[in-house]
Symmetry: D2
Subunit: 408 residues, 4 copies
């Protein structure tokens, strides 16, 4: 029965469906059988996909219809000193990507930051959100519902928190659009990214809203959460961690290591990341923060689709004149909605768990939430390094051509 | 010399730097040495990260400072019939993710689409963009520069296309903000995602602009491209492939397989994906298209950071009454800026190349560009399935509670 | 001395400057002299501009360098029954505009609303905002400043409210971007639109922030207010009044008076106001709410430049089936940031004050704030009427052509 | 019959409706009767509204249900030298507003600009747009329709231009969202703002699309135009005139007249107008451009509701070091979608026509379009002056407090 060929035969004869194999065999055998089937139906050889090196059973919470694994090259950048609210000391950051030159660039940035005695970083806000949408008869009922919710936050808190041992309700923000009422629940989910926790807790609270008000639940997510979409509500109000990181780099270091000046970098940042993004109607005012966020997410088992909003970043670069006439570079990144966790989801998978170990952040922190805070701060410093390195490259190329201009 | 311990010793003694190992050993040995170092410095065991199963040399174009690989579970969904401009017939879609339930959900959607005789899909626009920013003295010079560019597109085309055997310049769109001039170059890059091609070609054209006009290049990317940021310019004008997919599902099928009605699904879509996203100030009018885009990108070796804009999707769901009184569900997704390729970048890596083989789309298409078009169309159908399945789940839960309401 | 020709001569001789005339003559004489000067310098005849019919002195708080007045045609629409949180009963709405057909269209909509027994309306949020920006050394100081502010809201409230007899501080929301800290102060400004009140109060609070934290004020407005710019922060969080209005129109009335069906109107609204606006990257999901807002603002002395954000509106239209098989039309508008007042600013000017009298809303309300609430609700109903009328016109044209289609 | 009291009586008896008065009396008598009725029904005295000084008949194309006029104070700022593509020489700009201090502020800015030998200005793009939305069966028909349109632009041009003696079709840009096809028509409407011209011409072209493709027109405006909504499509692609203006102000002048420095102004601009607007999710990157646009629109008879998108402005301020060590201020504004005309609409009304005379721009230009171009350029210079003056005020206040800081 648990022989892959046997399973293949059963699927071919219509006795089994492709997603039912795990009901009849262990996870690895099921994956093998499924791979065989796909190989035969598509006339392919999936040897390397099948050459994964963890027990398939470990991935059962993470995937269905498994045939194997994608292997994404992983490297490491750093070390860099981070002076954060939660992170402290020297850290290596593992990154998984297929984009050549990315790690080299981030590494160069980190090395300059380290030489400038490290970066500061702070989580300035924290809250995982879920925003159900309710139907009401009209604006009068909407106002009535909002009033009830505002007056009964404690009852809703009790319902929501009854579903979780860790999560805490922070706030419920109501929004009305005609006969739709949206309630944006925000939770402190500690070291978990917390989407599931927030969804389950909110579901329980919704039952109370439905029983006590005229409102009927239409969808447990009404897109004001807003999950996996680039939305201003996240950019403004935050989701997951709002985190900032910055560094002050002595002018000498800018010249020696980045081969340009603070003024040239600041100009490139203003024309590209501020004015250019403004003209583009962008929600992202940065050069390539998504590169670092995506690669860190992949390495550490975060939700890859959340890169969409997690990469939301404003980068600032300023030339600061010192009293001695030299000019330092002030550089910062501010990520509004970085959703990260060190427990749950993909963080338990073997390679991802090891990457979190490299950071010293695997599992729950002490106090609770501090590991996820630290992860957010270190990713922010990585993004800062990436911005610094790319803008310096642009500016130094420009300086070179400016020098040529003078030679005309 | 090529012994890992030897390399470790040299780094420890300061004779080598962490990123220089590949200069002194083969790629696998260098990765091993680097892993050893990180293990010792962070007091960790990186056994599974080191247990990658491809020659490290193959990943050299994709990563620096390699220590191993992240293994992301990969599964498969489908098959589904796609009637596209480029894709045709039944396809399996490989997806790599750590998000449990995702493949089950997409698979359910695909199965309903298939039962409804498949989805239509079309690439409606194609163009990889790069938008440098130039400095001019002021608006008078800006107008002068724009005029020169408009009058000399052919000269710029010649310069740009001199750098590439495949890419073709489609258009140059100028934008002026004070003393900054942005030129958005769009290219047909065929089966390559094409960022590098577009960047190199644009660099060559910029040299011409600089020599013939008063404009000085500040940055080869001025963020009107817009790469790896969620920007309205991409949502409106497209980047990579603009692709749409849709399906008409008979009412009977909606009831039997999705346990709800077209009206209930359409209501959930309107309140959540349209009105909710509108209120959220979102650039994404969908439920979770990013999940499918991210998982397909990971499986097939696309640039994971581009999920940010590639997931830009408007989902529509409508109830269409038939003459016989029954009501069908019309469902569509429109992705504005899906950047995909079947050659170059991460597509060459072993597991990723195999995933493209499953799709029958590895390498260049015939005619050129048709493989990338087909990949875009199939990903769009996958996203359609994900939207359908999730909205149906929301709507059926709602229907259930609506039935309870009636019983009050 | 107070003779206009005398003043003209002095300006011509360089003894007086154009804006200093009021220092040497009464307001009307100064305006006359200034008009004479402009007439001579531009070779024009400004007879009608000079033919204003109020004492120029009355306009001194509203304008400098006065030469006369623009006369904008004013009409009236209604009456319409409004069942609001503040507004109640039948109301006429005065509108000033130069756009032909606007009043006819709004009037048609109001007449249908009235026949459907009137509209409901509710102010769901109220708060005039001002958001100064401070400079700090970096993210560490930023976090420190935010913490101080969060812990000292009462001290800031005291400072802020010391400047005003009416205004009350509702909330202070902090935002950090690198070395910039933004504090968004929200006030209940009662029947005043309240920008000046909010600015003065915030200025006083800023002095406290500067004295107690390392933060230095850069600008009293840091654009997170956000005044006279279309910003998602207002669309999401509101500014001035957030107000909604709706109506349920029996199907029979839709057919008889609007010559179309609820389904056709709902379709036009979805494709145009929701999907079309989504694709356009818009912050406005409506047809022409700005027309009504601008015309009501002009008539009642509101700040015309605030139309930019005051017109921010989501319009929804749904077909609601009744048990008897007929289909009603549910229509709503939700304006996120309608800044209105019934005291101060342009509301004191003669024609504007009379327009407020027509509404029964001139001056302070009882309780305080209720007049401005009622004005917001009535403008919302006007906007609802405009949306209804235009969408019905589009839908009926479409129905007509649909009928022709059937005849093919 | 034409006696106002007689008309009032007829309305009261139900023999006439409020909007039918003009059918039974001349425009002034009708307005008088309507005013009497409103006065009696609302127990008010509308003396000043009724004290308008133009023949009511002149306003018939602009308003229905007229009761009189709103009188808005009008002043004048300038003169300022403008070196534009169309505007040239010294200009006074009339502004109508109720916002005290606005004209004083703009006037100060213009005076500094004039002292710096004036501003440059350029219209960089011109096109009035209208974007109908069509329904198709699905994405296959959508692709088919877009292909037909792309191949038949000349046929559509012929149809569109058959309706107008002045307007010229520039371009048709197609957009697909599922089963909706949007076609964005852009026209050169010369000296007219051109909305009506564009609408009528597009209507004619739509008939051709409907007869030659499977597409059915749902609405003549599908919101990708986008009229009277703040939309990225306008910010990116323009609507009406895209216009920029700038000035280079010697450092000495900045100090003497603005009491601050180029560096301080640039800092305020970056933190407020760029970074602050970025964080606010704004489509407006300026301080208060809407103030000048709204006031100029009111004075010159433009469409007041279009201020919503016409005020879309990016303001840049940079400190430019000179070789002699002093620092100049470079200031610019770029308005993406300024819809203006010098013929048609409200421009014919008496006070508005006189205001255009002050500018020397009443009626059609020579060549056609040059008057509207010049008006756009002068309004842009006015907006530049407003930005300059407000940012200088913020910066000088800041400098003052910075000086105090030093004294601590």
């Amino acid at each position: 029965m648990t022989d892959p060929e046997n399973l293949v035969a059963q699927v071919r004869e219509g006795d089994l469906r492709l997603h039912e194999l795990e009901d009849h065999a262990d996870a690895d055998t099921a994956a093998t059988a499924r791979r065989l089937l796909i190989e035969r139906e598509t006339d392919t050889d999936l040897e390397t996909i099948g050459d994964y090196t963890f027990p398939a059973e470990q991935a059962e919470p993470n995937i269905e219809n498994m045939i194997g694994a994608a292997q994404i090259p992983m490297g490491v950048v750093g070390p860099v000193a981070v002076d954060g609210g939660a992170a402290n000391g020297e850290h290596y950051l593992p990154l998984a990507t297929t984009e050549g030159a990315l790690l080299a660039s981030v590494n160069r940035g980190l090395s300059v930051i380290d030489a400038a005695s490290g970066a500061d970083a702070r989580v300035t806000k924290n809250g995982m959100t879920r925003a159900p949408v309710f139907r009401v008869a009209g604006v009068a009922e909407a106002a009535e519902t909002v009033e009830w919710v505002t007056d009964n936050v404690e009852a809703l808190r009790e319902a929501a928190e009854s579903t979780t041992s860790h999560g805490e309700l922070i706030d419920i923000e109501p929004y009305v659009v005609g006969d739709s009422v949206y309630l944006r629940f925000a939770y402190d989910t500690k070291d978990a990214m917390g989407m599931n926790m927030a969804t389950i807790a909110t579901g329980e609270a919704c039952a109370v809203v439905e029983s006590e008000t005229p409102a009927s639940l239409v969808a447990l997510s009404g897109n004001l959460c807003s999950d996996k979409k680039p939305a201003a509500i996240n950019a403004v109000e935050g989701r997951g961690r709002s985190v900032t990181a910055d560094v002050l780099i002595p002018g000498e270091l800018v010249e020696q290591r980045l081969h340009t000046t603070a003024d040239a970098i600041a100009e490139a940042n203003t024309r590209k990341n501020l004015t250019g993004s403004a003209k583009a109607g962008s929600l992202g005012f940065n050069a390539h923060a998504a590169n670092v966020v995506a690669a860190a997410f992949l390495a550490t088992g975060q939700d890859e689709a959340q890169v969409v909003e997690a990469a939301n970043t404003i980068t600032t670069m300023d030339a600061r004149e010192r009293e001695d006439g030299t000019t330092d570079l002030y550089a910062s990144v501010s990520l509004a909605s970085l959703e990260v966790g060190t427990v749950g989801g993909g963080t338990k998978l073997p390679t991802q768990a090891e990457a979190l170990e490299v950071l010293g952040l695997r599992g729950g922190g002490e106090p609770a939430g501090s590991n996820a805070d630290a992860l957010a701060e270190i990713i922010a410093v990585g993004a800062l390094a990436g911005e610094l390195s790319l803008l310096a490259a642009l500016a130094s190329r420009h300086l070179a051509s400016a020098h040529e201009d003078l030679g005309r």
